[in-house]
Symmetry: C2
Subunit: 280 residues, 2 copies
């Protein structure tokens, strides 16, 4: 059984930066350190950070003092304001690509565009993004979600950074019929599209695909969805322990890929376990 | 044999306006009157105007004095300048929708966008449009024509007013991958899209379609293309004389539609001839 690991798997730039900032903070800070929500969507990493006394809290209300790390997905504007009002020490680990998208939402709103954020309503990045715009901002990850959008003079569009390109294209095409002027910022992170493209190509050449990453990670789930559409024998796992030998029966080539928030050590564990299966 | 005429057939707003301006000019002007190219893409109308002493000239070089009518498709900026320099009396019959698109090309160029005009390279409207932008402007009616487009900071897109929506959508989707910022003006004239939609719907319910209009009219040819895709028994004619009885053998329902530059009297001739066929 040959094992192929996607070149683009492992932490993306933004996640790597957030984890580095958190580790640096842990080594330099005496008091309590919190993250607003899990710093990245990977339970194994969040657990590891707890060993360094960095704890994920659900909301800003639960934090009264100490240091707060804004996770890679960013935060809502009112959360940032509340943190400042409380006098918390704020470490901003928002991914620079997300930061850019936040600025663009604000810019489009200021310029009078009706803003559409192409993304998932419940994703923390999207919740953060919309807080930078006017109240009327719309969220949709497909034209179906915009059927009731009235005709507008001008529509401004940005995308959740981890969105597949086709979703942005579909919404842009739809909005062309809803306004005579569109301003579109393609804020989809290049790392995401490269990863999706490469994983899809890998799925085409193997007999079985393993996707490694948090079940709460939208970009990992999306990778699994893409690969499953190409290779039905696709399995989404968080850790090596979940691998079942029967999945690989008769498979001569196995592909491994991971979401942007999956650390190398988790991926290496999976590869080692696959090698062990092979030698059995 | 039942005959159905598309409600949207006949002159569009811009063509009607151009013909009215030409007729008004003929009744008020003593000297020579010229149009820069045929005033609209319909040989029958152009012939009729010759009876009112309005003559189509190929280029501005052929005109030294008198009145010049700028046709509904608009003119190139250097042609307008030359007309003024020659002291010609200029009657501007450019369709207001085309005028708007010309202004937008100029606006996008001024704002530093790399401009893409989605349209047909050889169409007079497009030749006029690009003269309002910078030298680097690109023309394409599909992504294939933009394969060599280098990555740009920001791309501005406008469309030939008579283009099918799908062509604009395809180029916009393509350009999303070529720049992080797009500004798109949907300059496709509503009359064109309504006409295309309605003609397609008509083609679905009949046994035979007749498209009436100039063979040199891009929007008429496009209607024929759309209808033929739905109903293979589609015939593009300029005048009633071309109708052949064998086309309608066994047909119980016939649809008639026309381009934006086809006058009502030509359409009425066709309908009368069809009725005569039926009674035979």
């Amino acid at each position: 059984m040959e094992i192929f690991v996607a070149k683009s798997s492992g932490f993306c730039f933004g996640v790597k930066r957030a984890i580095n900032l958190a580790n640096k903070c842990a080594s330099e800070t005496q008091g309590a350190i919190y993250t607003l929500g899990p710093i990245i969507h990977n339970p194994q990493v969040v657990k590891k950070l707890e060993e360094s006394h960095i704890f994920a809290k659900k909301g800003i209300d639960e934090i009264t003092q100490g240091t707060i790390i804004i996770r890679s997905h960013g935060a809502k504007l009112d959360e940032l304001r509340a943190a400042k009002e409380k006098g918390l020490n704020v470490i901003d680990a928002t991914c620079p690509f997300v930061k850019k998208a936040q600025d663009l939402v604000s810019h489009l709103s200021d310029e009078g565009y009706s803003v559409v954020v192409v993304g998932e309503k419940d994703h923390p990045e999207v919740k953060g993004l919309i807080s930078y715009g006017s109240a009327e901002i719309r969220i949709a990850d497909s034209p179906e979600g915009l059927q009731d959008l009235p005709r507008k003079k001008k529509i401004g569009i940005i995308a959740q950074t981890t969105l597949p390109m086709e979703k942005l294209e579909a919404v842009v095409s739809f909005c062309l019929n809803k306004a005579s002027e569109l301003k579109v910022f393609n804020t989809i992170c290049n790392a995401t599209s490269i990863r999706q493209k490469e994983s899809g190509e890998l799925a085409e050449m193997v007999d079985c695909m393993v996707i490694v990453g948090g079940r709460n990670s939208a970009n990992t789930r999306r990778l699994a969805e893409i690969c499953r559409g190409i290779q039905p024998r696709t399995y989404h796992i968080e850790v090596a322990d979940e691998l079942a030998p029967e999945w690989f029966r008769g498979a001569s080539r196995v592909g491994v890929t991971s979401g942007a928030s999956t650390p190398d050590w988790v991926i290496n564990d999976v590869v080692e376990r696959l090698k062990a299966l092979e030698s059995k």
